[in-house]
Amino acid sequence: MTLDCKHVWAQVSEYIDGTVTAEMKKDIERHLSGCRYCSAVFDSTRNILVLVGDERTFELPVGFGERLHGHLRTWMNSADSGA
């Protein structure tokens, strides 16, 4: 099946997740091989998601873990003492 650009864009998310059918995958890849614009759309989307998923993009506040476990410990102790 020949897909136009809009149909290809509609599949970008599922294509990245690897959940498109084998036939659809083939159709998309055929389109991408001849369309530099859609290739750029797919490449940029995938690249941006890799950057978003990198640990460096979101940092935890300094001391987050210590405060979390400290708060939990204090709560457990007060629950134990029946406060």
């Binding site: 998310s13 599922e14 614009y37 940029s44 950057l51 978003v52 993009t57 935890l60 476990h69 709560w75």
Partner: protein, 224 residues
Amino acid sequence: MNSATDNRDVKQAAGVAEAAHEANVIARILAGERELFHELIRPYERGLYLAAYAIVQHEADAEDITQEAVIKAYKALKSFRGDARFGTWLMAITLNEARNRWRKTKGDQLDFLSDCEESTGDYTPSVLADWRYIPSEELERKELRKALREAIAKLSPAYREVLILRDVRGMSISETAEATGVSEGLVKVRLFRARLSMQKLLAPQLAPKQRGFMGWLTRKAGGQ
């Protein structure tokens, strides 16, 4: 069997082993070894904070929500049946806390999803002539990290939620659906919109032809 099937099988086996280990730890906590609860939540705490932050967009509130969610989970541990993975259950508690906080802040008249499902929006990507791959090492530059975070902040909370769970935490579609309390189909719709919106917001800024941002990177790399 192909490598994708192999990887899925390995991941599934690891998941089963992890769930069995967690079930054992939970049984010991309930039997009185409460200190183990700290270890049980440790692998998830970063994800819980990020999910809370994705919704409320406020560091101190997100930290507070995470603390409250963890205590709620401890109190409710007896009721954890193991139908879902512990991490998914814990995430669902955190998201619930965060949504409640979001509603309180924004006012009860605002629905968490009102700016999302009801609007058709413009979900077309930014069309570029080419794309130059940006390696992860570029994240050492705070301007790139800031651009990514600002783009996420512009999404609706329900879109931020699925993007963080799926693309930052690496949860599966079914785990994301379970944690957010919506169908897998709706998770896919939201994820598609979130991902395409991210591309639309960021690609023009980061594309090689637009020299602004990349130009900054090049100048910086050259020590200028």
